[in-house]
Amino acid sequence: MLNTLLGTVTLAATLRLATPLIFAAVGGCFGNRAGVFNIALESFMLTSAFFATYGTWLTANPYVGVLFGILAGVLCAALFGLFVFHLESDGMVVSIAMNLGAWGLTTLMMVALFGVRGSFMDERLVSLPALHFSILEPLGKVNGVLNDQNVLVYLAFVAVAVMWVVMYQTPFGLRLRGVGINARAAQTSGVNILAYKWVSTIITGVFCGVAGAVLPIGGTSVFAENMTAGRGFLAVAAILVGQGNPLLAAASCLLFAYASALSVGIQNLGIPSQLVETLPYVATILVLLIYGARNLKHVSKISR
């Protein structure tokens, strides 16, 4: 049992599963902090996952795939920004329409370009290489967990650190947070709100692009219909729990990923797979409950 809970396999899987969540959540934090209501991360990721697959398949080079993914993420973000910032649509409506549209679009393109339904596998769909650090070798368990992961796993943690610095240690980050806290005040002090909202949305798109690319070419080398399966929503939940702080959001992502990783191990213990599959979502709700427990003192006020 303990081996399942803290085993090398589980922890290594946690890092691997957390990577797409972390990328999406870190990017989403910027949109969140700039006061952009965006639950379309799911569609950004799914579209990127498809185009990363396509790019990799075209060139047999996963890095080109990642670039394609980023490009797709940016295009999705641009579409979102166009509708929400310039055409005065509601963020939620645009999000929902995009989430449903992305499912249709990717499946359609899958049939059109690859000629298959369901899932796509090909020998040209090469995954990103795993990095091997010989320094870590004598460290036993740490080695097993940290070593030989794919490039993006390590980059995810770099991204968290960098984006935390950008958000809290740079003038850009300060202004961005200012836009989210009080748009009018920010405007009065000469910040171009629209520009900041746009930039933050594009950042979200870039990171969701990487997050989407991780899914097909981060080790599994397969693209499946509706592959994101709610990961974009999990990222949104992580942003909410982390209150838009990349560090805290990434920590929540690790927790959700741990719940997913556990599900692989627990399944072997004879617990029905369907119940195990609910773990990340239940864990999300539990984390939200703990996070919301500080509101309990308001309960007595619920009278009417």
Partner: protein, 364 residues
């Protein structure tokens, strides 16, 4: 959606016509991209909507759940309750209805009634979870309902496996409960189609919600809470009680939708059968601007397109998801705030409006 004068009516009509033309053109491009003739595909869609008696039956079959989920969304969103969990509540309701339909021994019309009640009450109970979490822990219902959708999906699949017993394997595509008792099924309207009397329940629901909104004090308060929360509270509306009742009502309707789908169409519960129909409801409600009659009209369009899409896939080489994509684009085009856009265009002041409306405040 009260139309104040003629020019406004004109603007609204123009909006729908424009959006429809735009997606028809994009749709034609998408269809030819897949190597089919757009004209042929559109003809197939039309034929699938009303080409024959069975086509009309299928259209009615698809309109029914659209109305239910559309109303479930309208009830919630009009009052500022962000219930994104219609899909999950629908699954729970559908499963409960199946259970009653399988095992309850009741005479005559009592059995379908019990199924419908079981479905809707389970949907209601499932909606109670995020509502309570919102009230006690102040967690945004949007995120909890999103998560609970997945929980509902997997848990109902798990119970399906239990009902099916030892013979069940883990392949969710092949897994389903046994077929419910015949006396539990709703009467079929058009022979050899899935159009059932569920459509009457749906239309009745539209009428009831319309009357509540238009003529009753409760309905006025429900609208008030969504439009101006502070005013409503000052005016003596019990907002907390209102919030929870609206949430439960929305879940009730979603559960009812699940039950009707089982009793009227499928006859058995198959995991993940609904295919985003709950999300369709939210989009329909957006198109209809949260008006019950609007929902009925938009559902007709939506259901017709769904029925037509299936026919199109049968006749031409076009994937039916094309229509799904077209529908999503239609929503995008229709929900553009043209009037404000027009206003912005007219008086182009240097002062820029704050971009993005952001989330509107919840009601508690």
């Amino acid at each position: 959606m009260r139309l104040k004068n003629k020019s406004e009516l004109l603007l609204e009509t123009l909006k729908y016509v424009l959006a429809f033309t735009a997606v028809a053109v994009i749709g034609a491009a998408l269809i030819s991209f897949q190597g089919a003739a757009p004209g042929e595909a559109y003809a197939a869609i039309l034929q699938g909507i009303c080409g024959s008696a069975s086509a009309i039956g299928n259209t009615i079959r698809w309109i029914t759940p659209c109305i239910f989920t559309g109303i479930a969304a309208t009830v919630a969103f009009r009052s500022g309750v962000m219930n994104l969990g219609i899909e999950g509540q629908l699954y729970v309701g559908a499963f409960a209805a199946t259970l009653v339909g399988l095992y309850a021994e009741l005479p005559g019309w009592l059995l379908p009634l019990a199924c419908l009640l079981a479905g809707s009450l389970s949907g209601l109970l499932f909606a109670l979870i995020p509502a309570v979490i919102k009230l006690v822990f102040r967690i945004d219902e949007m995120i909890t309902t999103l998560m609970l959708n997945y929980v509902a999906l997997w848990v109902t699949e798990y119970f399906t496996k239990i009902v099916k017993g030892a013979s069940a394997n883990n392949n969710s595509k092949a897994m389903a409960t046994p077929v419910i008792q015949e006396s539990a099924e709703l009467t079929t309207l058009v022979p050899r189609t899935n159009a059932s009397t569920g459509i009457f329940i749906a239309l009745l629901l539209v009428a009831v919600v319309f009357v509540i909104y238009r003529f009753t004090k409760v309905g006025y308060e429900m609208k008030q809470v969504g439009e101006n929360l502070r005013f409503a509270r000052v005016g003596g509306v019990r907002t907390t009680r209102m919030f929870i009742s609206i949430f439960l009502l929305s879940g009730f309707i979603a559960g009812l939708c699940g039950a009707v789908e089982i009793l009227g169409v499928y006859g058995k519960f198959t995991p993940s059968f609904a295919n985003n129909i709950g999300w369709d409801g939210i989009m329909i409600s957006m198109i209809a601007k949260n008006s019950p009659v609007g929902v009925a009209l938009a559902s007709m369009l939506w259901g017709a397109l769904k029925a037509g899409a299936l026919q199109m896939e049968r006749v031409t080489s076009t994937n039916r998801l094309t229509v799904e994509l077209i529908q999503a684009m239609f929503v995008l085009f229709v929900t553009i705030d043209y009037r404000r856009l027009w206003g912005k265009w007219k008086d182009r002041q240097p002062r820029k409006r704050t971009a993005g409306k952001g989330k509107e405040g919840g009601i508690c």
